[in-house]
Structure formats: C-alpha cells, structure tokens
Amino acid sequence: MIIHIKLFATLRLKLGVAGLEIETDKPVTIMQLLELVSQKLDTDIIPELIENGEIMVGTILLINGKNIFHADKLETLITEECEVSVFPPSGGG
C-alpha cells in the first residue's frame, strides 16, 4: 500500500518538502511511519513532534483528517492507503 504524507508549517519550510509517499507491504503504526519518513528524508523529524515518547502539545497528526490522538495515539495502525498530515506545534488565530 501507498501512504501519502503531507508535511506542513515549520517542518515543510525547514525541509523544503511538502509531501512524499511511503510504500509498505505490511501495516505500520504512526510511530513506525514517522521513522520511515525520517529515513527517507535523511532527517530525524521525530524530535519536532514527539517528546519523551508523547505527542507534543500542539503537534497534530491526522489520518485522512482524523486526529490519531483520539485513536491509539502513536500506536494507531495504518492498514490501508491513506493520507497522513503532519503538523509540528503550530498555532492559532
């Protein structure tokens, strides 16, 4: 399956990458996906999003628009093609 990843806010501006795809033949957790993304980008994006194993206040991780915080958090399993949106702590208006 193909997972479409979209990067936003400071992460997108720092890396100069708006999106990428990860292809995998088995289900992955969001945490595993972030590790795969870091490998592909050759940059560890995890410290921008996670602190002491917890989702940082303000970090938003969405699978097809649904926040993983209300599923199994970082252990949320991806089993089919989807879009994952990644926002580091951002802000409001």
Partner: protein
C-alpha cells in the same frame, strides 16, 4: 497598583473634558480593560438605546497590565453598544496605541454625546484637547494617521482612527490603530463615526507603577521563557503567523468554504500560510508592544504593494469562503479593509452571502450595475464590492449593513452565517462542538475570541479534546469564557494562553497590582464580567432564542471530508451550559448567582 487611577470624560457636544478618579475597589473587582469598561458602561447607559443615539457612549479602556513589560501588555478595549448586533460590544486591539494611551496618565476614556462637526482628540501627558477634523474627514486610516503625526510632530505619538467605513456608518466597520491593528468587530467604528469623532492621538511619558517591581520583573522573565519555549508561541506563530491554521483547519475538515456549504477548500495550496512564505510575499514578522511572539506579517505583493496581513481570518473570509484561490487578490482585499476601516471577517462573509444570494437568483444581475458577477471563485468581486460596501454605492448600501441584514432584505436570512447578526469566523461548528457552543453563547455574537475552543479541540492546548465529543464541553466553554474575560481585562493578548495558564495570569496581575487575587478569585472576576455582559444583553431584549446558530449548521450535515455527516448538537449542549453557569432554563442568571458574584 498598576493604574494611574484616572478616567477622562469627554463630552463631544459641549466639548467639556473632565478628569475623574478611578476607584481602586472597582479596579480590583473588574480588573481593567473589558471588565472595567463594561462596568462603567453598564452603569451609565440604558441597554435599550439606539447604538447611534447620542446616549450611547464609547469607552476606550486599558488593562491592568497594559503599558507594563508583561509579555503582550499593550492592548486596549473599546466598549459600546453595537449597532450590528444590539449587544454589548467590546472590541480589542494590539499594536502600540494601548501602551501610549495609558502613558498619557489616563486608564480609561469615556466619550459621550455627539459632536456637531468632525473632530479628533489629542492627549499629551494628561493635557487633552478636542480639535477640528474637517480636513481628515473622508481620508483613509493610513492618510489620517500620517497627517495627524505630521501635525503633532511628536514621533512617539500613536493614532487610533476610523476610515470611510466608520464615517459612512457601515455596521461592519472598525477602529484602526497604528494603521493596521484593529478593534475590528461589532461595528465599533460606526459608533465612533456617528459621534463625528475621527481620531484619537495620544502621547505621554507616564510610567505604569508596579506594586512589587522586583518580583514582577522576575515573573515577566519566567513567562517570556515559557512563551519562547512553547512550540506554538515560540516557533509556530512566529514563523507562519496565524495563517499556519489554514492547512490545519482545512485538513481537519472544518474550514468553511462556499459560505459554509462545504468544509474543505480545493484551492488551499495557493492561499495557505505556507504559500504566503513560499511565494515570497512575506517580508518580515511584525510585533505589537512588548510581544515576544510577533505573529504579525509584513507583506509585499509582486506589484510592489506593501501592507500587513492577511491574517488567518481575513485570508479565509476572502479566500475559501468565497472559493477564491488568488492570494494576491485576497491580500489586497485585506489591505483595503485596513485602509478603509472595515472588519475583513464580516466583509468577507457578507460578500460570500451575496455570492450565494446571486447564484441562487435572489440578487439579480441588474442590481450589480455592470460590476463583476457575484459568483463564487470570482476574485474581481473582492476589491470591487469591498469598496462599494464602504461607500454604500449600488448594492453596497445593503452590504454595508452586514450579512444578516443583506440576506434578510432578500427574504432569506437563513443564508446568513451569523450569530446575533455578527458574522461567524473561520471554524465550522459542525466540526468542533465546543467552539459552536462558544459562538452561540458569545456575548457579542459570532466570535471566536470570547472562548477559543480551537486550542483544546484542534491544536491540543492545554490538552487535546475530541472535537466531536459533547461531554464536558459546556465546562470547557465556561472556563475559557471566564479566563478570556480575565485576559482581555488584563490588557494581554489571548495568544499567550497557548502557553500560559490561569496561575500565570494571577501571578502577573498580583505582582503588578498588589491585589493578591487567588486563582479562584481571579476566575470569579472573569465570571462576574461574563454575567455583567449577559445582563446588559438581556436588558436590551435578547432571550435564549438568540443563543443559537444558523439553521444550516444545525440541520445540514457537512457533505464530505473528515466531518462528513455531522451537524452541530447545540440542543444537547445549551441546557447543561445554562445550568453550569447558574442560569435558569431561559438563560437568565439566578438571584443566587448574582449575589455570589456581587452583581
């Protein structure tokens, strides 16, 4: 205490200007800014008056921490009866004007009555004078500011003024200070226009006295450190400004599009906060007085036009809501609103309403008098109808009254996305149940900054709540409403609350004022302010029927995206909210509650 203890009363008809003392007890009970201004206003003004009558007053109130070194401590509040909603209006602004207003030696200005001819008020270190403004009438807010600065010749002076929007009594006009900062909502600019008061220019060197300076300075350093280390206030907002939200809210499926007919916008990549940076429009960040966040944007468009914004709300109102993906046109419309002195949220929503009325055939082509078609996606419509609205030309005369009155004039008020006739901002309540309850119960109508539930429901600060869950939301809304009343009364920016909590605000307030509030006492002051505003609205004729949302948001499910199938569940939330507030089923504060709050 961090007040000068002085109020200035200005009678615009008789030109009498009179200083009065501010009671310390009143300051403690109502904190300052929004609270203190509303207390004075409620005591002096009959809630049933017409907003444009001479009996309406216009109050400028600084907060307890305004003009101190507290982070973001530069804000002021305008309090009056709103001509748009008929509710109490309090409209808040940043920049440097609030700081300078307090540096004159006055905490609060009260304007009474109406001038016969255009005038402006000049205050220099307690010395105040009303001057003729005939030469300023008709000028935009930038020209007015430049002319006044030239006349006064004091480089540190600051100006708040109205543009043609306020002069022409557009119900969606604001008051602009420092050229691009706005007390934007509720039509406060039109009240100033009705009083023929074009501007206020302030200069002065009065320092705000701090009760325990050493302890206060230490507390300020601690709070700045918290703000700098927080991901939202230390990195997200400084880098991308409020427009960082475009993609967050769109991806989460609650980005109102096509006048709330949809909740996601296909053209987002062209207009988002990221696009503003990537297209090279962003020149630099702009900070208000004493602000370590600096979320403001100085922008230069490819044709060389320079201005501030667009912020998230105007960018959305002129963008997704009108289905326009032209960031240049959106930015120009925002600049125009700043220059002409109108509220870009309400203007954008009103144009989107007009587009739906036109596409459904209620507004006829002949009414456009050969102007651009009011079709969703037509970027030519933005500047054209913003100007028409300000100058009340053609269909602009109806649009100047805001979305509700426009839709009502065609027999279709249900197409207006407003609460208490004020235009709803950029979060679809069907995707955020708590925020929807906050809109429905806001004391000034459709407003997101009376309780910003997006922080917990979407951003996850201070903790993440499920946006579709309704359990517990009335409690969250009440706490946010009360705390926001405290922050507004302190003279700080609401954005600090992404990182700071109630104990931090009590700490700053106590060290500056010496009032020694417990956190509970401070929160009770917030609750007192909320109830006082509510009482004003009830006396002016509002009932529980007005605590509602547009039919579309209660009955028509979101058609696609992450929130597909959802409506707003107000009916399940409102009774619990009233109960929690200590109000009757009809939304009226009980005698016990009023006694408890000392009202």
């Amino acid at each position: 205490m961090s007040y000068h203890g002085k109020i200035l009363r200005i009678n615009l008809a008789t030109k009498e200007i009179k200083p009065e003392n501010l009671s310390k007890d009143l300051a403690k009970k109502y904190i300052g800014g929004r609270g203190l201004g509303t207390k004075i206003f409620s005591d002096e003004v009959d809630p049933k008056i017409d907003a444009f009558s001479p009996e309406n007053k216009l109050i400028f109130a600084t907060g307890a921490l305004t003009s101190t070194i507290a982070p973001t401590g530069g804000r002021y509040m305008v309090i009056t009866k709103s001509p748009l909603t008929g509710t109490i209006a309090s409209s808040n602004s940043g920049g440097f004007f609030g700081h300078k207003l307090k540096s004159t030696g006055y905490d609060v200005l009260i304007f009474e009555n109406k001038a016969e001819k255009p005038c402006y008020l000049y205050i220099d270190d307690e010395k105040a004078e009303l001057r003729d403004a005939a030469h300023l009438w008709g000028k935009d807010t930038h020209e007015t500011t430049d002319i006044l600065m030239g006349e006064i010749g004091e480089k540190t002076a600051k100006v708040a003024c109205i543009g043609p929007g306020g002069e022409n009594l557009s119900l969606i006009s604001g008051i602009m200070n420092d050229k691009n900062r706005a007390a934007g909502r509720s039509g406060v600019g039109a009240v100033m226009g009705s009083k023929m008061l074009k501007a206020i220019i302030v200069s002065g060197k009065h320092k705000t006295l701090i009760d325990d300076k050493e302890a206060f300075n230490k507390a300020v350093k601690e709070k700045i450190k918290i703000l700098k280390e927080n991901g939202v206030t230390g990195e997200g907002l400084p880098t991308l400004g409020t427009k960082v939200l475009d993609n967050i809210i769109n991806s989460s499926g609650l980005y109102p599009t096509r006048n709330f007919q949809k909740a996601q916008f296909e053209g987002i990549d062209e207009i988002s906060g990221e696009a503003l940076v990537e297209k090279g429009y962003l020149v630099k960040n702009v900070a208000c007085y004493a602000c370590p966040i600096a979320c403001g944007r100085l922008v230069e468009l490819p044709q060389g036009k320079i201005g501030e914004g667009p912020e998230y709300e105007p960018g959305w109102a002129f963008g997704a809501l009108c289905e326009i993906n032209d960031l240049n046109a959106i930015s120009q419309a925002n600049f125009m609103c700043n220059e002409l002195g109108v509220d870009p949220i309400s203007v954008g929503v009103t144009i989107a309403t007009a587009m739906e009325l036109y596409e459904k055939g209620y507004i006829k082509k002949e009414e456009l008098e050969k102007g651009p078609e009011l079709k969703f996606g037509n970027s030519e419509a933005l500047l054209y109808y913003t100007k028409k609205l300000v100058y009340k030309e053609g269909i602009g005369e109806k649009m100047a009254l805001g979305s509700y009155r426009l839709a009502e004039s065609y027999g279709h008020p249900e197409l207006s996305m407003t609460v208490k006739k004020m235009e709803i901002p950029a979060y679809d309540p069907r995707g955020v149940q708590g925020q929807g309850l906050a809109y429905a119960t806001s004391n000034r109508g459709g407003c997101h900054v009376r309780a910003y539930l997006i922080a917990p429901e979407i951003v996850g600060a201070p903790e993440k709540l499920d946006p579709q869950e309704i359990k517990g939301k009335p409690e969250w809304v009440k706490i946010f409403q009360d705390l926001t009343a405290v922050i507004d009364s302190s003279g700080l920016c609401l954005f600090t609350s992404f990182a700071l909590g109630a104990p931090d605000y009590a700490d700053l307030l106590n060290k500056a004022t010496g009032f020694n509030y417990s956190v509970d006492e401070m929160m009770q002051a917030g609750e007192r302010i909320w109830n006082m505003e509510r009482l004003f609205n009830l006396k002016s004729g509002f009932t529980t029927k007005d605590d509602t949302l547009p039919k579309r948001l209660l009955e028509e499910p979101i058609p696609a995206g992450p929130n597909k199938g959802h409506v707003h569940r107000l009916g399940e939330l409102l009774p619990d909210y009233y109960k929690l507030r200590g109000w009757t089923e009809d939304g009226i504060p009980t005698d016990e509650k009023l006694k408890e709050l000392g009202l």
